[in-house]
C-alpha cells in the first residue's frame, strides 16, 4: 500500500501544488495574477526536483499495477514541465495585454499537466483515460480562454467537440479491448494477446478505434481536421502549449500501451502507424507551404511534427520511444518559443498580426527578436547545430535501427520540404523590407521565455548528454 502511494508521488505532489495554486489564485489581488503563474513555475520545478527517479531502471508499480513511477514517466514529465514553464512565461504579457490575466489560466494549465502525467504513468487503461480527460478538459478551457474573442471561442468549441468525439471513439474501442481481454491492465492485456493473438473481431475493432482516437489526439492525418483551426484560433501561447504537451502526453501514454500491451503483435500496428506517419507529415508539410499566416503555418507544421514523432512509434524499439521523449522535450522549447514570439508581435497595418507580411523587415528593427525567431525556425526545420536536429536525428536513428528505411527516407525528404516554409519566415524577416509598422515588445516574462528557449535551442546540441542520458535510461 505504501508502495502505491509512492508510485504516484509525483502526481500527488503536483496535485498538492495545484491545490495550493488555487488558494494562491484566490488570495492574489486582481492585478497580481501573474504571480500565480510564477508560483506555478516554482511548483513545477519543485516537483521536478522532488520526483527525480533515484536510479536508472527505477520502477515502482502501484495500485495493483495500475500506475507506475519510472524514468519513462519522469522524462515525459520533463517535457510537460518545460512546456508549462515556457508557455506560462510566454503567456503573462499576452494575457495582460488582452485584459484576461486571470489566475485560472495558470491553474488550469497546471492541472492539465497532472492529467498528462497520469496518462504517461498509467499502466491501466482506466487511469490512462482519466488522465486523458483531465488533460483534454483543461485544454478545452484554455483553447477557448479568450472569451471575448470569437476565434478563441470557436477554437474552444471545435476542440471540445472534436476532442470529446475522439475520446468517445477511443473509449468505445477501449471497451472492446477490455471486453475481449477481460482487463484494462496493460500487462494482462499483453498476456492475453500473447496467448490468443489478435484475430478476434472485437479486439481488432477495439484496437483500431483506440488508435483512431489516439490519432485524433495527436492530429495525425485523416483525423487532423480540428488541429489547424484550433491551433490558430486559440490564444497564441496556449496554441504553443497545445501543440506540444498534449501531443507528448498522448504519445507517452500510447507508446507505453503499445510497448507493453501491443508488443506481441508489433507488425500488425506498425504498418498502420507507418502509413499514418507518412500521410501526416506529408500532408502537414504540403499544406503548411501554402499558408500565409504564420500561426496557421505553425499549426500545420505541428501536424507534420506529429508525423515525425510517429516514426519513433513505428520503429517500436527502445530508441523509438526515447526519441519521442527527447523530441517532445526539444519541441517544447522551440515551438513554444516560436509561439511566444508570435504572441508579442503587434502589427499596426491593415493585416493580421500573424501574417507573414508582419515579419517583413523585422530583422532591422528588432534584431534580437528576429535572431530568436530564426533560431526557432531553423530548429523546427531540424537544421544542425540547433536542438531540433538532435530530436530528428534520434527519430531517424530509431527508424534505421528498426530497418524501416523507406520511412526514414520519406521522413528526411519531408523535413527538407519543411525547411521551405520555415525559411519563408526568415526570408521575410531578413530579406524583405518592412511593409507595416510592427511592434515586437518583448517584456521581461516573454523575454525570459524566449531567452531560455534560444539558449536551449542553441546549446542543446553542444550539451545534449543530460537529456539523452535521461531518455536513454527509460524503460517502458
Amino acid at each position: 500500500m505504501a508502495q502505491s502511494i509512492v508510485s504516484i508521488l509525483p502526481e500527488i505532489l503536483m496535485t498538492i501544488f495545484g491545490l495550493l495554486l488555487i488558494v494562491i489564485d484566490v488570495l492574489a489581488g486582481e492585478d497580481r495574477k501573474s504571480g500565480v503563474g510564477y508560483f506555478g513555475i516554482a511548483f513545477v520545478l519543485l516537483a521536478l526536483i522532488a520526483s527525480i527517479p533515484p536510479f536508472n531502471g527505477f520502477k515502482i508499480f502501484g495500485f495493483n499495477k495500475m500506475v507506475v513511477w519510472d524514468v519513462y514517466s519522469y522524462a515525459f514529465f520533463l517535457t510537460f514541465a518545460f512546456a508549462y514553464i515556457m508557455s506560462t512565461l510566454g503567456s503573462v504579457d499576452y494575457l495582460k495585454d488582452r485584459g484576461i490575466n486571470k489566475g485560472e489560466y495558470y491553474v488550469i494549465m497546471f492541472f492539465s499537466i497532472i492529467g498528462m502525467m497520469f496518462m504517461v504513468s498509467a499502466t491501466d487503461l482506466s487511469v490512462f483515460y482519466l488522465g486523458l480527460e483531465t488533460m483534454a478538459i483543461s485544454m478545452y478551457i484554455l483553447a477557448g480562454y479568450n472569451k471575448k474573442e470569437l476565434t478563441s471561442n470557436e477554437a474552444g468549441i471545435k476542440y471540445f467537440i472534436m476532442g470529446a468525439f475522439s475520446s468517445g471513439i477511443f473509449l468505445y474501442g477501449l471497451t472492446y479491448v477490455f471486453g475481449y481481454t477481460g482487463s484494462t491492465k496493460y500487462h494482462i492485456i499483453a498476456e492475453f494477446i500473447r496467448n490468443n493473438g489478435v484475430s478476434h473481431f472485437s479486439i481488432i475493432f477495439g484496437l483500431i478505434l483506440m488508435f483512431a482516437g489516439f490519432a485524433f489526439k495527436i492530429s495525425a492525418f485523416p483525423f487532423h481536421m480540428w488541429a489547424p483551426d484550433v491551433y490558430s484560433g486559440a490564444p497564441t501561447p496556449v496554441a504553443g502549449f497545445m501543440t506540444v504537451a498534449p501531443k507528448a502526453a498522448a504519445f507517452g501514454g500510447m507508446v507505453r500501451f503499445l510497448m507493453v500491451a501491443g508488443v506481441p503483435v508489433v507488425e500488425k500496428w506498425q504498418l498502420f502507424f507507418a502509413i499514418l506517419a507518412v500521410l501526416t507529415m506529408t500532408y502537414g508539410n504540403l499544406v503548411a507551404i501554402a499558408q500565409n499566416n504564420v500561426k496557421r503555418m505553425l499549426a500545420y507544421s505541428a501536424i507534420s511534427h506529429a508525423g515525425y514523432m510517429l516514426i519513433g512509434l513505428v520503429a517500436a524499439n527502445d530508441i523509438g520511444y526515447q526519441a519521442i521523449a527527447l523530441y517532445t522535450m526539444i519541441y517544447a522549447f522551440m515551438n513554444i518559443g516560436a509561439f511566444t514570439l508570435l504572441s508579442v508581435l503587434k502589427n499596426k497595418g491593415i493585416i493580421d498580426d500573424e501574417r507573414l507580411e508582419s515579419f517583413a523587415g523585422l530583422a532591422k528593427k528588432h534584431p534580437l527578436y528576429s535572431l530568436a525567431m530564426l533560431l526557432f525556425m531553423f530548429s523546427l526545420a531540424g537544421i544542425p547545430p540547433l536542438a531540433g536536429f538532435i530530436g530528428k536525428f534520434y527519430i531517424f536513428m530509431a527508424a534505421i535501427k528498426a530497418k524501416i528505411y523507406w520511412l526514414a527516407i520519406i521522413g528526411v525528404l519531408n523535413s527538407a520540404i519543411a525547411c521551405y516554409y520555415y525559411m519563408r519566415v526568415t526570408v521575410y524577416m531578413y530579406f524583405k523590407e518592412a511593409e507595416y509598422d510592427v511592434e515586437a515588445n518583448l517584456r521581461p516574462a516573454a523575454f525570459i521565455a524566449t531567452f531560455i528557449a534560444s539558449v536551449v535551442v542553441l546549446l542543446l546540441t553542444v550539451f545534449p548528454s543530460l537529456l539523452i542520458n535521461i531518455v536513454k535510461s527509460m524503460i517502458v
Binding site: I137, A155, S183, D229
Partner: protein, 101 residues
C-alpha cells in the same frame, strides 16, 4: 428471451452509431453535444455488459469514471457554447467559420 452479451453490444453499437451520426450531421451545437453524451452512454452500456459477463468490477468502476468525466465535459462544453453564443448569437456549427483560411 435470454439477454446475451450480444444484445447489449448491439444496443450500445446502435446508440454509439446514433451518437456519431448526430455529431457528424447535426449542426446545432447543443444537439451535437448531446450526441457526444450519447456516445459515452453507449460506452457505459458496453462496459456494464462486459463487466457483468466477465464477472469483474472493473467495468462498473469505469462507468463511474466515465460518468464523472461526462459531467465535467458537460460543464466545460456548455460554458464554451455560452461564451460562443454571447459573441456570435448562434449555436449553429456551420456558422463557426471565422477560422477558415
Amino acid at each position: 428471451m435470454e439477454m446475451t452479451l450480444q444484445h447489449y453490444l448491439i444496443l450500445s453499437a446502435i446508440l454509439f452509431g446514433i451518437g456519431i451520426t448526430g455529431v457528424l450531421i447535426r449542426r446545432n451545437l447543443i444537439v451535437m453535444f448531446m450526441s457526444l453524451e450519447l456516445m459515452l452512454n453507449a460506452v457505459n452500456i458496453n462496459l456494464a455488459a462486459y463487466s457483468k459477463y466477465l464477472h469483474t468490477m472493473t467495468g462498473q468502476i469505469f462507468i463511474v469514471f466515465v460518468m464523472c468525466v461526462a459531467a465535467a465535459e458537460a460543464a466545460v462544453g456548455l460554458a464554451l457554447i455560452i461564451t460562443l453564443f454571447r459573441n456570435k448569437a448562434t449555436i449553429n456549427a456551420d456558422e463557426i467559420n471565422s477560422l477558415r483560411g
